[in-house]
Symmetry: C2
Subunit: 245 residues, 2 copies
DNA sequence: ATGACAAAAAATGAATGCAAAATGGTCTCT
DNA sequence: AGAGACCATTTTGCATTCATTTTTTGTCAT
């Protein structure tokens, strides 16, 4: 009598798209990956209560591995665990977002500095390629394409830093602000968009010259500007039509 | 009898001195704090197997909360969990240490930059005070005092950054390399010691002028030098190692 | 009708139980 | 005697169960 749970659909789908390097072959590891994605994707409203039983039914497992995964997600800062009151999706205050953006700025700044020490001409060429691609999206006002290529550029810089620890930390913080970061780029401010393009050109220039310290400054400032745009976008979240003022 | 852990009666004292702000009132939270300290303090040899039941007996709890704490510690990078083979204290390769030092460098570099934006004259005065105190330890060849004051200075800079997220991340990474970081300062190289003092003066100078970008560079380089000293000290580890008293 | 109190229901925290996998030792076969 | 196979013990992973705490609900009094 092991199967007390109705087999509705496929409880555990193999997360083939994941990094897979980690030793997440066990059930709790699988659950962890799926729950993290589930939360990051925004399937649970901010601050909503999430009964364990419900998640168990959804995932087709018992509470033990689920609770283990919840503890890890809490330590990652994605959710918060109130004693005897269950888990809630962590609600980020404006201050939290500012702090997170600043930490991201520090990490990218570091990534740029380290990248200048070891990046190859081929990697720079690849980033240049992405840059031109992004420029195309910019010209075509393709916000979605721009956003994706932009992320790939930043990830390429992090990858070029050749530091797995940094890469992991970066991915962790990026997950926390994913939704906001996305909407930040969606701010209709064309001026900010053009400014970001110029900043990216400066980034590329410093990268070509392997000017680590300089690139560090530029990247920090770039993220600071993105932070400002994100915060501004959050405080006045009405933008369906091009506002007149 | 495969006891890898010294069996004292009540080995782990209650961590009353911990940053009790956290909502770790529950049992698993308490266990987490105690286990983390226990591991960070180096009570378990590198790479040693740690049977769950033994830890349970030691802590006087059942396996469920212990396993939850282990999962969290693994996500923090302190231990690693091999599927069906239990938890091992994570053994840091030289490359791991290099990466960790670089990430620490990035975080301190960020902290310095942010600190310049908001630090008060009083805070700077306090750091100056610590600096002179440290100079005294340096003159008296008091390695232990020097080490402690040095840490307090760096922590003060991080605190001055006014970013709790950064502070938490910094504490996390600091925990991972605590032992090595300590021994790094124990390197008998007097030359490096004098150099570090000069670097600290430059840090203080940039801080007084609120020169964020400059301070960022100096702090990064300072940590880079510390990293070099630590690695060097590890590759030729023949000094009278600080054994347990 | 509203508020307070109390009991029921549900959810969480921790312990125990059970199956699968790994470890260790012994035995057999060459 | 040595290498490999086999079995017993230990250990891990997960499910289930038990005990508290919280939340809801129903009733009563004002």
């Amino acid at each position: 009598m092991k199967s007390t749970i109705p087999d509705t659909g496929v409880p555990i789908a193999p997360t083939a798209a994941n990094g897979g390097d980690r030793q997440e072959a066990s059930l709790h590891g699988e659950i962890l990956l799926r729950l993290r994605d589930y939360v990051v994707e925004g399937n649970i409203p901010d601050g909503a209560r999430v009964p364990e039983r419900q998640l168990c039914a959804m995932l087709g497992i018992s509470r033990t591995p689920l609770r283990e995964a919840l503890k890890v997600l809490a330590s990652e800062g994605l959710i918060e665990l109130l004693p005897n009151r269950g888990a809630r999706v962590r609600q980020l205050s404006q201050r939290d977002l500012e702090e997170l953006f600043d930490v991201m700025a520090g990490l990218e700044s570091l990534a740029g500095r380290l990248a200048c020490e070891a990046i190859t001409d081929e990697e720079i060429a690849a980033i240049e390629q992405l840059h031109y691609e992004m420029y195309g999206h910019y010209l075509h006002r393709d916000m979605h394409g721009y956003f994706q290529t932009n992320q790939r550029i930043h990830e390429s810089i992090v990858a070029a830093a050749r530091n797995e620890t940094l890469k992991t930390a970066y991915a962790n913080f990026a997950g926390r602000i994913r939704r906001v970061r996305y909407s930040a780029n969606f701010a209709r401010k064309r001026q900010r968009w053009a400014e970001a393009m110029r900043e990216h050109e400066a980034i590329l220039d410093a990268l070509r010259r392997r000017a680590g310290s300089e690139l560090s400054d530029i990247l920090f400032q770039h993220l600071r500007n993105k932070r400002a745009a994100a915060i501004e976008h959050l405080t006045e979240p009405h933008e369906d039509a091009p506002a007149s003022p």
